[in-house]
Symmetry: C2
Subunit: 248 residues, 2 copies
DNA sequence: CGCAGAATTGATACATCTCAAGCTGGGTGG
DNA sequence: CCACCCAGCTTGAGATGTATCAATTCTGCG
């Protein structure tokens, strides 16, 4: 079941779907050739754990297709998602031997993995990978800080609206459509995963989704398929600055 | 009042107090000389705003002495602190023209500023500044993610204990003492700033501090001077893994 | 001395959690 | 083909933690 995904992914960096956004985005042809030599693909089925926090990790990777999550868990089981990894996002930290978070595939997932040691060597000898990684890390830091505002200060309804807006925007971005007027997308997360991301319980997520539906902010077909008739209306519900001209 | 601070700070990178931890940590002598040419010091009094979010920012900087905060504010005034900047921490983002957050001095503050354009040139022509900045940014990202767990899942009491533990640890680190046994430090934040950091109200902060005091986890002399008789006891109150061998 | 900002404490309101009961839709096996 | 099952989801009722509103009380300082 997972194998056919693998087969649809090109093994040539030249026509890789994430070539222009991933950590390799700025590489010259000679750098790409070095990357080709140390890379390999791995696929995971939806629900599978990619890595457990604390495990030894001898590769770093880019998400090629599918979605993965980064989560932290407390001793008593409380969970907080700290990252949502979409195609082109980077996994792992050069120079660190073990994983700091649980990484889980929420959809079928294909990753382009690089053996860590050679990747680190490449980083220290050529500038472009490190430059791009710095850029991506700074973007992630901004995203994390925006999420801190959400977790610390937003109401449950604002949290849900914010998550829907982010998914809608990213989805529109992947499909190269503008995020205006009516938007349609599928939720890549269960209610429980949404709760883990938003710092809520799954019951509260369910209630607030129902409320947004009742108020006409969204429409649902089944549990996962979302229709946003008026994107600006959704943005109003997030509590954010309306001009919210995302830095992306 | 602020000026004498400036005078106590060496203008020679060679004996700068943050030389070994800041963005310049890995620089060779020739790189340091280039940095010397584009740097200048600025000082701020406690309470002063360094930059407003959205303002044009034509420098980046390192905190030399004192403490600054990064905060985000919603239209209706809800505030969330998203960063606490201690000596050696970096402010600003190369390649971005405007500030993304409000930066405020919570104590008297001295910053070592670099004109942005020359700094960016330096980054693209020599590797050591960019390498160090990547490392620092990855550390900040980890800290932000740890804070996401705190904001999303911890109780008010756990939040306070966590903040105290972090300040105690950083303080011990600056003083080169081990964070074991009895610890003494001064809170660099008001109750309101603590609240903004923890996603609470100042009243809840006050109540939980009183509760920790009542339960003997901490002792207070005045409002700001904190004594932690048993650091392990404090750690238990944070809800974190007790082995919490910080990656620092 | 007395003022102003900071902090504490109290009483009450309310948002979200918790516990619990049902619902829904897709898959499985008889 | 139907009955059943089960994970995912919804909804309800009540408990609880934190926010809100409102007085005081500290503390440092002119």
């Amino acid at each position: 079941m997972a194998h056919h995904d693998l087969q649809t992914v090109s093994h040539e960096c030249g026509d890789c779907p994430i070539r222009h956004r991933a950590v390799c985005a700025r590489c010259e042809t000679d750098e790409l050739q070095r990357l080709e030599q140390i890379k390999y693909y791995r696929s995971y089925q939806a629900g599978q754990t990619v890595i457990w926090s604390g495990d030894r990790m001898d590769f770093v990777a880019s998400v090629v297709t599918g979605i993965a999550t980064l989560t932290q868990t407390m001793e008593d089981g409380r969970r907080q998602m700290v990252g949502l990894l979409l195609p082109s996002d980077f996994v792992g930290r050069p120079g660190r031997p073990t994983a700091a978070y649980d990484v889980t595939a929420t959809t079928d997932l294909v990753m382009c993995c690089f053996r860590k040691k050679p990747f680190e060597d490449l980083m220290s000898t050529t500038p472009h990978v490190a430059q791009r990684l710095l850029e991506m890390t700074l973007d992630e830091l901004d995203a994390a800080r925006e999420w801190m505002l959400l977790l610390g200060r937003k109401t449950a309804r604002e949290k849900i609206a914010s998550l829907l807006a982010i998914i809608a925007r990213r989805d529109a971005h992947l499909k190269l459509k503008s995020a205006k007027g009516a938007i349609v997308f599928d939720l890549p997360l269960t209610r429980e995963e949404m709760a883990d991301y938003l710092g809520l319980t799954l019951e509260t997520v369910s209630r607030q989704v129902s409320a947004l539906k009742r108020d006409g902010v969204i429409e649902l077909e089944g549990k996962r398929h979302v229709i946003v008739p008026d994107f600006d209306r959704l943005i109003e519900e997030t509590g954010d600055d309306s001009d919210g001209g995302y830095l992306v």
